[in-house]
């Protein structure tokens, strides 16, 4: 057991997969000598050399497309997009190509690749270094969308992603890169892509969240438990696609009340899907409105510090929303 940060977990996962399987390589902007702008690939260039840790041209669609081609040719690419905000140029390759390749070739050409991108706000990144983009990809069948909130999950899920025969989008909550620490075992392990994870058991209501918001939600649950005696169940939706409908419903059937927290814009954010599933298949268990706490519908997280803070959900705001719903 070691206590490490989330970014260390990400790096370890890649390091071990590179060591385990020669077909694994990394490409992206500044992943080489520079070790990535967040230092996720730090030391890997020195260890595995320029053939396997490949600085790409400044061009996201080709980073992904090279990955697709290499994956179809039997390699196991890990493509880094420097910020999730810069994934848009690659959307055609991700949504129309990677996602549809296996299906469109009737299973002949799987695309075993991983696309990593740091996402989320609260780091003074303004409109273009703070985006949450998971909702867009969670709409595209053929993709897997994964977001860890702990070092344990980050390492285990990323290893699963690299070994998965499908294209996996792996979004990392960058505000938590160094802020989130946790224990991980010393041995090789994986965490399966698919099931959500109940990170805290409770009875009064369920909060669904992922990434930084899952981390905050645990803090909020602590607060309301201590201060208000509200028993919160926390579901960490660490796989967004394919959707774990059963996992999502299980907790709701118990509590009958749901709050969904995400830092993305409210409208058409991932919480909409969770709400829709509950309102359909969980109707008979509903004990109150299904609430969403999310970023406001403005084009991004503003740079100016107080406005940024007002944009972002926080443990305090989550606690307030929990109290409100519990009182319903």
């Amino acid at each position: 057991m070691r206590n490490i940060t989330l970014i260390d977990a990400v790096r370890e996962a890649m390091d071990e997969e590179l060591a385990r399987d020669q077909r694994v390589f990394i490409t992206g902007e500044d992943v080489g000598r520079r070790g990535g702008v967040f230092r996720a690939t730090m030391g890997l260039y020195e260890k595995y050399g320029p053939d396997r840790i490949v600085d790409s041209p400044l061009a996201e669609l080709s980073i992904v497309a090279i990955g697709i081609g290499a994956a179809m040719a039997g390699l196991r690419p890990i493509c880094e997009i420097q910020f999730a905000d810069f994934i848009h140029p690659a959307m055609n390759q991700i949504m129309n190509e990677a996602a549809k390749m296996y299906y469109r070739s009737n299973g002949a050409w799987p695309v075993p690749m991983t696309i990593r991108a740091p996402y989320g706000g609260g780091i003074s990144g303004g409109l273009y270094h703070s985006q949450s983009v998971e909702a867009l990809f969670a709409h595209i069948p053929g993709l897997k969308v994964v977001i860890p909130s702990t070092p344990y999950d980050a390492k285990g899920l990323l290893k699963s992603a690299v070994r998965d025969p499908n294209p996996v989008l792996f979004f990392e909550p960058k505000k938590g890169y160094r802020a989130i620490k946790g224990d991980i075992p010393d041995d090789d392990y994986t965490v399966p892509i698919g099931p959500v994870n109940v990170t805290k058991v409770g009875t009064d209501l369920t909060v669904y969240a992922y990434g930084m918001m899952a981390y905050y939600t645990l803090q909020a649950a602590q607060i309301v438990e201590q201060q208000d005696g509200i028993s919160v169940e926390v579901v960490d939706v660490r796989t967004l696609l394919p959707v774990d409908r059963t996992g999502i419903l299980t907790s709701f059937k118990k509590t009958g009340k749901a709050l969904i927290v995400y830092e993305d814009n409210l409208t058409m954010g991932y919480g909409a899907e969770i709400a829709a599933i509950l309102a359909s298949d969980g109707f008979e268990y509903m004990d109150g409105p299904i609430r969403r706490l999310a970023g406001p519908d403005v084009p991004g997280v503003p740079y100016s510090h107080p406005v940024q803070e007002a944009f972002m959900p926080s443990p305090q705001k989550i606690a307030d929303a929990i109290r409100d719903l519990a009182a319903y």
Partner: protein
């Protein structure tokens, strides 16, 4: 790396020997056969559409020479090919059958490229290393660079023997001249150049992108003029001349195999028919222009060469024609009689993902 696109006409004069000179009569006939077969299959497809028996056809007509030349210049069925929708003749020469094609026209079960999920002419065949294509143009170009990257990677890692002809040693992709306007093309070419990949980009320049003429598409005379911007060798060739096309492609293949880097081959050609069965080309080009180009028909030209050289007899030609008709007839009947795909498995969300192996 050259500054300017090389015109194969000039280029050939400098060559001691044309690669096509080394092709045996047998091979030349085989090439002719695929061009003819493609044409007859293509013609039948138009008829089927006009009869209302299929919803869509997009044609490779007029492009047969550069396509078949390409198939014969590479290690057919082994080298990676990431083609586009016009490449019927190329794909037939590599191993797709008229049956496969007919199944795709009718959207029937057993269709090879996609299980009839995709529209016709969206070629794919794993066993021939033909990659699966989509409809958004030019997306295959950076993917093909990725295939070529993987080849180079395997060589460097010692995972592949450079002389092992049972392994792909290059990746070739093709597209129309209009599609080079896409950012995808730029980025794919750029990777190929930066990493000096065993990569070939065949541009089948037929002067139009649906209705848009090439001078509204780009401000240069030749697509090959764009190759220099990527440190890629650019070659221009008469795409209606199968032997010249073969020479150009053999040159590009040689470069790829020997690690000299990527080549762009621009085959100047024409599409004598509308863009697709949904198109009507009378709004954007004159009948005279079309007629003029029909006179440069690649099949007739090759036929004349073969007959002149005494390689193709009338007898042999008749035999080819009747064999082609028979194959097309048979393929059509097979497809018409074939069942539709089962619905359930095609709409099952689980079918969308490759199964995860538990280790």
């Amino acid at each position: 790396m050259s500054d300017k696109a090389l015109d194969m006409t000039t280029y050939r004069e400098e060559m001691d020997e044309r690669p096509s000179d080394k092709l045996s009569p047998q091979t030349l006939l085989e090439m002719f056969w695929y061009m003819l077969l493609s044409r007859r299959l293509d013609e039948r497809s138009w008829i089927l559409h006009r009869q209302g028996r299929i919803p869509f056809h997009i044609s490779g007509m007029g492009h047969e020479a550069c396509q078949v030349a390409t198939a014969f210049a590479i290690n057919r069925g082994i080298d990676y090919v990431h083609p586009y929708y016009r490449d019927l003749a190329m794909c037939l020469a590599i191993g797709i059958t008229p049956r496969d094609f007919m199944l795709s026209l009718f959207g029937k079960a057993g269709e090879i490229s996609s299980g009839a999920r995709q529209m016709p002419s969206h070629f794919s065949s794993r066993k021939h290393n033909i990659l699966s294509m989509s409809s958004p143009v030019a997306t295959q170009v950076p993917q093909a660079a990725g295939l070529a990257f993987a080849i180079k990677y395997r060589l460097k890692m010692g995972l592949q023997d450079p002389n092992d002809t049972a392994q792909p040693r290059l990746a070739i992709t093709s597209l129309g001249e209009g599609s080079t306007s896409q950012g995808e093309w730029h980025e794919g070419m750029n990777w190929a150049g930066v990493h000096k990949l065993p990569f070939i980009c065949l541009v089948e320049n037929n002067i139009y992108a649906i209705s848009v003429p090439v001078d509204q598409q780009m401000a240069v005379r030749n697509v090959a003029d764009r190759a220099a911007a990527y440190g890629v060798e650019g070659v221009i060739v008469d795409g209606n001349d199968v032997l010249a096309s073969y020479d150009a492609m053999a040159y590009a293949v040689q470069r790829a195999y020997s690690g000299e880097g990527p080549t762009l081959v621009e085959a100047k050609t024409y599409r004598p028919v509308p863009h697709s069965s949904d198109d009507d080309d009378r709004s954007y080009r004159t009948r005279e222009e079309v007629e003029q180009w029909k006179r440069k028909d690649p099949i007739q030209r090759f036929q004349a060469v073969l007959q002149e050289r005494g390689i193709l007899t009338q007898e042999q030609l008749d035999e080819y024609e009747s064999r082609a008709r028979q194959m097309v007839d048979e393929a059509q009947k097979f497809a018409e009689d074939a069942p539709y795909p089962e619905i359930e498995p095609n709409l099952d969300p689980n079918s969308v993902y490759a199964p995860v192996e538990v280790d």
